[in-house]
């Protein structure tokens, strides 16, 4: 009964999300926020691989997001490549940087690795700010083309009167495109979690020494995880570039990394489905605070005060997030608890 209710609710939410942009009372601003939520959903799912699956703290995720965004932006402006070509290229570039950064540093444990990723993302921002010949620096990169679906070559072959050429204008098409992207990443994450790769990551997270004595090559699996995570971040960046049509180095500051980390922690480390909820909650909260704070005569940047506080309180009272991953959930299994008790008392 419980299960069917859950399923019904899930499909209802999905259907509502699909129909929503077509309704007459739909607000452009709300749609815009929802697209933003989708971008962060992808980012949060991608980040979850490193701290959630492998148990390594990544404080520089936004670096890959920025690399993806600028890759897409520059390729669009200088070469006019199609969005569908750019997505894999951005992912590839993200993954390359992931390997370059990960291969020498993933031998390190916990804190050192976190610091390296942090330094890397700061260097990315410095590069984007200072290499003006390439990125126009703090002025930003305006005039990136929107996403275009161009089948005119095919339509003119069939019938010269037809023109299958659509330019994405307004939030509706991006809403569906974003949804498609989230769905794809979701499916990929689900398949990875159940694969040999996913099980290797979990083993590393739970006990890396035990994992390596079972024949798991720690460095290889960690680098693969880091590269996949970077690639997903870069895809989100590429989407952002073609959606906002403007990029600036300020969009990729450290706070963004922290925000994404907040989403992952809120949803539960190691549970990528929770990341979706975490992203939705925090972005919605950010928008609400954006309205409330000026009313209280406070600068809008102070919404990070709330984020900081949420993180501290979460770690204090619910360190596993609102939706702990299944591995932790199974610890609550009555049979396991009974077994543990018996073993402990003997």
């Amino acid at each position: 009964m419980n299960l069917t209710m859950k399923h019904a609710l899930k499909y209802f939410v999905l259907a509502a999300a699909l129909i929503y942009p077509m309704l007459s009372f739909t607000n452009e601003y709300v749609l815009h926020v929802m697209v933003l939520i989708m971008v962060y959903m992808v980012l949060a799912m991608g980040l979850n691989i490193v701290p959630g699956f492998c148990g390594l703290l990544d404080l520089g995720y936004v670096g890959f997001y920025g690399i993806g965004a600028y890759t897409a932006g520059l390729l669009t402006i200088h070469f006019g490549l199609s969005f569908w070509v750019i997505i894999p290229l951005a992912a590839l570039n993200g993954a390359i940087w992931g390997v370059l950064l990960g291969a020498p540093t993933l031998r390190l444990t916990g804190d050192y690795f976190a610091i390296v990723t942090f330094g890397f993302s700061e260097l990315v921002v410095l590069f984007l700010t200072n290499e003006i010949w390439l990125t126009r620096g703090p002025l930003g990169l305006p005039g990136i083309d929107p996403v275009i679906i161009d089948f005119s070559w095919l339509s003119t072959l069939i019938n010269p009167q037809w023109n299958w050429y659509w330019e994405f204008i307004g939030p509706q098409p991006y809403f569906y495109l974003g949804m498609f992207m989230v769905a794809m990443v979701y499916v990929i994450m689900g398949r990875m979690e159940d694969s040999r790769l996913g099980r290797a990551w979990f083993a590393i997270r739970e006990d890396s020494i035990a994992a390596s004595s079972c024949g798991i090559n720690l460095l290889t699996y960690k680098v693969i995880g880091f590269a996949i995570s970077a690639a997903i971040g870069a895809v989100a960046g590429a989407f952002l570039a073609r959606w906002t049509m403007f990029l600036s180095p300020d969009m990729f500051k450290f706070w963004e990394s922290f925000l994404i980390l907040c989403m992952v922690v809120l949803g539960g480390l190691g549970n990528f489905k929770g990341s979706l909820v975490g992203a939705a909650i925090l972005i919605a909260l950010g928008e609400v605070l954006r309205i409330i704070l000026p009313a209280l005569n406070l600068p809008t940047e102070t919404r990070f005060l709330a984020y900081g506080l949420i993180m501290v309180l979460m770690m204090r009272f619910k360190p596993m997030g609102f939706f702990p991953s299944i591995a932790t959930q199974s610890q609550k299994n009555p049979i396991l608890i009974k077994l543990k008790k018996e073993l402990g008392s003997s």
């Binding site: 701290p51 148990g55 703290l57 404080l59 020498p104 540093t105 390190l108 444990t109 916990g110 804190d111 050192y112 976190a114 610091i115 390296v116 942090f118 330094g119 890397f120 700061e122 260097l123 410095l126 700010t129 200072n130 020494i209 450290f254 706070w255 922290f258 980390l261 922690v265 480390l269 406070l298 600068p299 940047e301 102070t302 990070f304 005060l305 984020y307 900081g308 506080l309 949420i310 993180m311 501290v312 770690m315 204090r316 360190p319």
Partner: protein, 295 residues
Amino acid sequence: MFEQQLINGLTLGMIYALIAVGYTMVYGVIQLINFAHGEIFMLAAFLAVTFITVFGLPIYVVIILTMGCCALIGVLLDIFAYRPLRQSPRLAALITAIGMSIFLQNLAMIIWGSRPKPFVQSALPPFLRTTALTVGDASISWLQLFIFGIASLLMIILFLIINKTRVGTAMRALSQNRTSAALMGINVNRVISFTFALGSSMGAVAGIMVAIYYNTLYPTMGYVAGVKAFAAAVLGGIGSVPGAMIGGIVLGIAEALGAGYISSLYRDGIAYAVMIAVIIFRPSGILGKSTVEKV
């Protein structure tokens, strides 16, 4: 040119060293990167200006008072944010530290506004900006001498506290093995609080120095300075107090020379690059001991 850069770098390095000892001591004792340490440095600058403008206290009193306030903030930070998480995974404590850092930074933004402010010049003796002595082409201002003097004095005091007093011995014991230290009758929480107080008061002096030296203070100043000081601590070998001092000075000089001869645009980048290079090639730093993980 070279001498001048060297002297500027040395001044900067002294300040980094003062902040870095705070990171390294806390790391040594509880293995936590206290991200909020940079924020204490920032709060010190703002508190000092507030004490001067609101209460009109003389600068020397203000420095002592700010040290005390920041020590208190450090202790409260430990008690309310970190102490409940002593037994939880390191990740949780690290995320809490970042959360507290962001919280304090935005709190300062709400209280004092986000625009950069100048330091209250009238509170400073006017001779500070004049040249004290010249070496070759380089000139050293009284302010720079003052920073050298205070920083060196504090380092010596710190060295004596750690090596010659009972509480310093307790700190060293704690950094070797917390459980054994507790079994020897050391009050662990009190020693940790003392470590936070000591580190925070050093950071407080650095904060005031930077505000005077650059004549500006803003709520995000703790972020960059904190990261650089942390880089210094890593460079010197995290957990090692003399290492942090050396690391700070080396980093300050590297930064001044790098900005002067390579590119001033990548000034901040030098610290990150040094940090990443050290972590990749020699994670134990200049003076740190490499640890072997036992199964």
